[in-house]
Every structure is written in C-alpha cells, then in structure tokens.
Amino acid sequence: MSATSLRVLTAEFPDPQWASSTDTIQQVNSSISYWALPSPAPVTLSTTNANPGSDLTGLLYYPDLPPNDACNDAAAPYVPKNVTRRSNLPVAGYDVIAVAPWLSPDCVQKYLRSARRTGGRAFIFFLPDNSTMPVPGSDDPTWALGDGENWKRENPYPVYAIPGTTGNELLYQSSLYSGNVTDVPHGQLLTETGVDPRNYVRLFVDISTGGGTALPSLWVFLLVVLGILLGIIGCTSLSMHILQRRRRIALRRRVATGEVDLEALGIKRLTVPQEVLDKMPLYTYGSGAPVAHPSTARDGAATTPSEPTTTLAESKLSTSTSSRPSSPFPNIRPTPTLIRGNSYHPSPLQQPTCAICLDDFVPGTPDSPTGTIVRELPCHHIFHPECVDAFLRDSSSLCPMCKKSALPKGYCPRVVTNAMVRRERMMRGLQPDAAGDVESGATAGEEGVQTRRRSMMMSWGGQRRFFSAPSQEMQAMDAAGSGSTTRPPPPAATRTGMFGTSLARERRSVTQPLPTQQSQPVQPPSNPSRREWARERAVAMLGRDRAPVDPDAEEAMRTPRWRKVLQGVFPNMGGGRAS
C-alpha cells in the first residue's frame, strides 16, 4: 500500500485527439533525456485508492491555483514559470500525477482541491526547505492540516511526500519538458531519431506501491490447483449430502409406514415422549377399572378373552366387552383356555409383580378400587406407572419384559441422522432376504415381522456382538422362530424352561399352559414357588433379543474427531463400519 520507490523518466506520446491509439507512451532514450530514481523512498501520507501491487503511473504536472491566490506568491520560489501544467498535457487519455510544495495548510488544501478538479491520479508533495534529509513520517505533525485527517479521506487519490531537493528538481525538470518536442532538451536530436514533432515529451512518474500481494506465478498455480481441489471436494460433498438427505427422507417414510423398527434393529435408541406415555392405559390392578383412558383400557381387555366366570366382578363390568379375567379374589384362578394360539397376551393377573421395583400389585375390587394403579404397555405388560414411565422416558422405548416397542406404530424420532441411515442400510445389506420381505411384506402378520426381526438380530449379532445366552439356546430360538413363521415367539411369562429346555416343551407351554403356572400368579406373595417362577422367568429372559444401547451415542463415542469431520463433509463414507 505504501510507496516503495519513485521513478521519474521522460516519455513521448501522441495527442489522443489525433492519434488513433492513445496508450502508446514510450520512454525517450535515457541517454538524451531526464530520468531519476530518487533514493529515499517517498513517504506515504494517504493511501486512498492506491491498489497494492499495481504501480501508480502518470504524467507529472503542477496543479494550478486560481490566478490571484496568495499561495501563488508563496509557491513562486519553488515553482518555475513554465512548469508543466495541466494545460500542457492532453485533456484526456492519460493519467496525471500532481506535484507541489507543502506550504501552509490552506495552500495545501487548495492544491489538493485543484488536483481533485483536474483528475490527478496521485499527489506528490515536497517540503519547501531545499533539504536532502528524508521527510518525517506520515504521523508527524508536519502533515497535519487541522481538519482531523479529513483531507486524506475526501481526496480520491493517494498522497506521497518527497524531500525538498527532489521536489525542486522534479519541478525544474518539469519546466524543461513542458513545451514542444523541439523545445525540450536534445529536442533536435529527438526529432532526428524519429519522434513525431507533434508528439508530447513530458515527465512520467511511476510510483511503485510495493508487491505485497503480487503473487509469484508458482503461488498462483498452487492456488488454482487448490481451488480446483476445493471445488471438486465441494461438489462431491454437496452431492453426497443431497443423496444422504434423500435417504434420510426415505428412511423416515419407511419408519412412518412401519416397515422399519428403529430400536429393534439396533439403529437408534428411542425413548417414549411424555404425551405418548399419557395415552397408555392406566387402570386399577385387578378391577380393570380404567383410570385415564377408558377406550384404550377396554381395548386392552378385549384382547384377553376368557370364558365368562360368574363372579360379582364380572356382572358389574360393562356388558359390551365379553369379559376380562379380572376376578378380585386371588384364589379364583383363570381358566386354562385363557391363552389361545397366537393371540396370547398375558393378562393383568398373571403379572403379580412389577418387574422394575419387584413390588407386588395389590388387587382392587370394582366396589372399592383401592388397588394399585398400573400402566399397561401396548404389549399388555403392566407396571407401576412411576416405575415404567421413568424407564420409557429416559432409557428405552422397549418393554422391560418382552422388548416390544411401546411406541405407537409408525412413530419416528424427530431427527433422523446419517448414522441411522448408514446402520439401516447395513442391516439391509446383511440380510437381503429379510429386507426384501420387509419391503414387500406390508401384509405380513405380526409373527412374521417378529421372526424376521429375530433372524436379522441374529445375523447382526453374530457378526459383531456377543450373546449373553448360551449359543444352543439362541440356536433353538432361532430355529423355532424361522422354522414356523405362524408360531408366535414364546412369551416370557409362560416360558418355563431354563436354558436347554426342549423345544417341544416350550411349545406346549405356549399353547397349553400348565395349570400350576396359571395358579401361581395369584398365590400369596409369601409363597416361595411363585418367586421361583418369577426368578426362572427372569433367567429365561436372558436369552431374548438384545436391545441396543443408543447406537448413536455409542458410535459418537467411538469415532475419532477427524473421522467425524470427514463424515460431516462426506456423509456417505464410513458405510463399511459395522457399528
């Protein structure tokens, strides 16, 4: 920005008024003309409109002041009579640079104004002291004009300062080169060497403003390469983002239509929002009296059909639903036909204990509903609301007992991340048959979905994870699941076996529960056999499907930062990672 050197030379050029090409400034042979490279570099007073890297060039001239101005007298000792004035230069077509002595602030302002009017490209001042000493710096009070630096802003050209002798020399030489070609020094010689006599021969100034940002060609080349690379990366990233966005939308749609179960597939750990929790039926244990949502509670009751039992409770229940095994008396046991084929659901009285806090539910009666208030999940498992609400809201959306999702079908989390898309695609890649089934099998029943889910879980777990249960048991479960798709998966509550239970016995226990099992749930809490049953049930559940901890958090924890950045730029990358 600041000037690094000042070069003065003599140039000859045609008048643009009659010359066809105006831009033909040619240096006059330096042996027969003036040229100079004043040694102390000019001091930069103002950089307005000075472009770094590009030199300021122009024809030197002295800006005239109004004829009767007092400053003319003050400037007279420094300004020769026939100095090059604006009128000695072509009206247009060439840049001009003014030079003048730094007199009083008032005169300087007048010079600046004059240069502004005459289209000066820059202004060179010199101190009227005829000294060879370098001029003071730009912040020196010498250069104060008493208007708060305003002059630097309002003049549309940069201003430089040079020592007095240099300035005097410039003005003197300028006075020599102000007339016709024949009048300038060696004018005769010039015309003989072919300079058109009609041309101008004037002083030409070249102020170099430093090459701070003038880039060497190698750097330009590197920058261009870098730019191209950045462009390619940007385009790739953009297209990947667009593709990934499409996949996210597609996954969201498939989740919404129920084709993909995010949590069961281990794609995303979901939790149940409070408003969904509030919609789950809440009723008094044993009486079936709904507390919050009558319709859903009755709906839940209707799916557990049983032979009508003639009890006081039944007669007082609503007549629309056939019955519910809601005997208030613990010693009346439900009939064995309670569980039928693939429409099995554990009825409330088969779940005497909250699996979370291990407290027994207290049955209430329709007459005096003082029993425990229980929350029933869509899978018909019941818990204390205070126990299960916190778990579903904070930890997982899967039922603690059977790991069925408690979320409504088609519930989709607000944010579908790229990682979820990647895992879902990976799951489909691992199990193409199952994926095809899932995509085409919208009409498939619940059992089929369960079976497929299990087999997918198996294959995934087999690749990456470790089973908590002995492998034989898992294989048995897998064989059972995939062998007969019409058979529902054995519900936890009726699975009698520890590990190694034969499949046949398991099946029998599903379709035709043992009478002792049916009676056990309503045993008094002190009975040890019921606890044994509960414990066995819990142990039997160890081999069930795994519910993953939130894979997003797990993956975020295991991914190094550079990889996260890379995945942010190229969202499709890293698909080969299993988890």
Binding site: D359, S395, R465
Partner: protein, 154 residues
C-alpha cells in the same frame, strides 16, 4: 427406588439361593451400592472348582441402568479382561432391562463362562488367539491352569 429394590433382591437371594452365586452381600452394611459376590465356576467346564470374586457397583438410577460388574479374581476367558476384570457382556451394556436383577445377571456371567465366549470380540487376546487358531485343547488347558492358580484354594 434403587436401594428398596436391592433390599428385595438380597432378601430373595437369601431365602432362595442360586446354584451359581455362592455369596452376595454388601461390602459394608451402610452402603448397598457396592456388593461383593462369589461365583462358582460352571460344572463340566475348565472353570469347574474355581471360585471367582466379583465386585458389583449399583448405579443410582438402578434398575434403569445396569449394574457394573467386575471380576476381582483373575478369570481367563476370551471376553474378560484378565488384568482389570472387565466383562464384555451385552447384558451389562446394551441389552439390559429392568426386569433383570443382580442375581440373574451374575448367572448370565456364569453362563458366559460356560458358553466359552466369543473370541471375535475378545478382551483376552491371548486366549482368543488360541481359540481362533482352533487350539481348543491348548485354550482349555490354559483356562484350567489359570483357574487352578487364581481361583482355587483360597
């Protein structure tokens, strides 16, 4: 809720002991969140006859989150870190549900020992290497030796 449920679990355990878990008790009487357990090496395995000490730490929001269980006695198993006692078991991490308890989790650990483990996600690399190379005799010998050295006669 955590301590209430723990008391229940401990009462149930005392009334109705498990065949796998020989001892389950709090380390100190006034702190229920740090338990000590002694696990019996499963029969008909290389761990037979070994008695393994475990430390159990109960998180404050138990049973929503699983207890953390570590072997105190060095246990030579592909999915157990021999030095720190860390156990790689999905039940302790991902597939936990509140329906499990401390005792059933310990039983699952015993079943993990009995099942031979998964050498593809090992915490004990030496043993996993033997297993993956197919040297079942060598692996069983190593386990038997380590069980004898660390888990017997104390």
């Amino acid at each position: 809720m955590a301590s209430k449920r723990l008391v229940k679990e401990l009462q149930t355990f005392h009334r109705d002991p498990s065949s796998a878990v020989l001892v389950l008790e709090p380390v100190s009487d006034d702190d229920l969140t740090n338990l000590r357990a002694v696990l019996k090496g499963p029969d008909d395995t290389a761990y037979e006859g070994g008695l393994f000490n475990l430390s159990i730490t109960i998180p404050p929001n138990y049973p929503s989150t699983p207890p953390s269980i570590h072997f105190l006695t060095p246990c030579c198993h592909p999915n157990v870190n021999f030095k720190t006692g860390e156990i790689c078991l999905d039940l302790l991490k991902t597939s936990w549900t509140p329906a499990y308890g401390v005792v059933s989790t310990l039983e699952a650990v015993q079943q993990l020992m009995g099942a031979g483990g998964e050498p593809d996600s090992p915490l004990n690399i030496d043993l996993a290497k033997l297993l993956r190379a197919g040297d079942l005799v060598g692996a069983e010998g190593l386990v038997r030796l380590m069980t004898r050295v660390h888990a017997m006669g104390r």
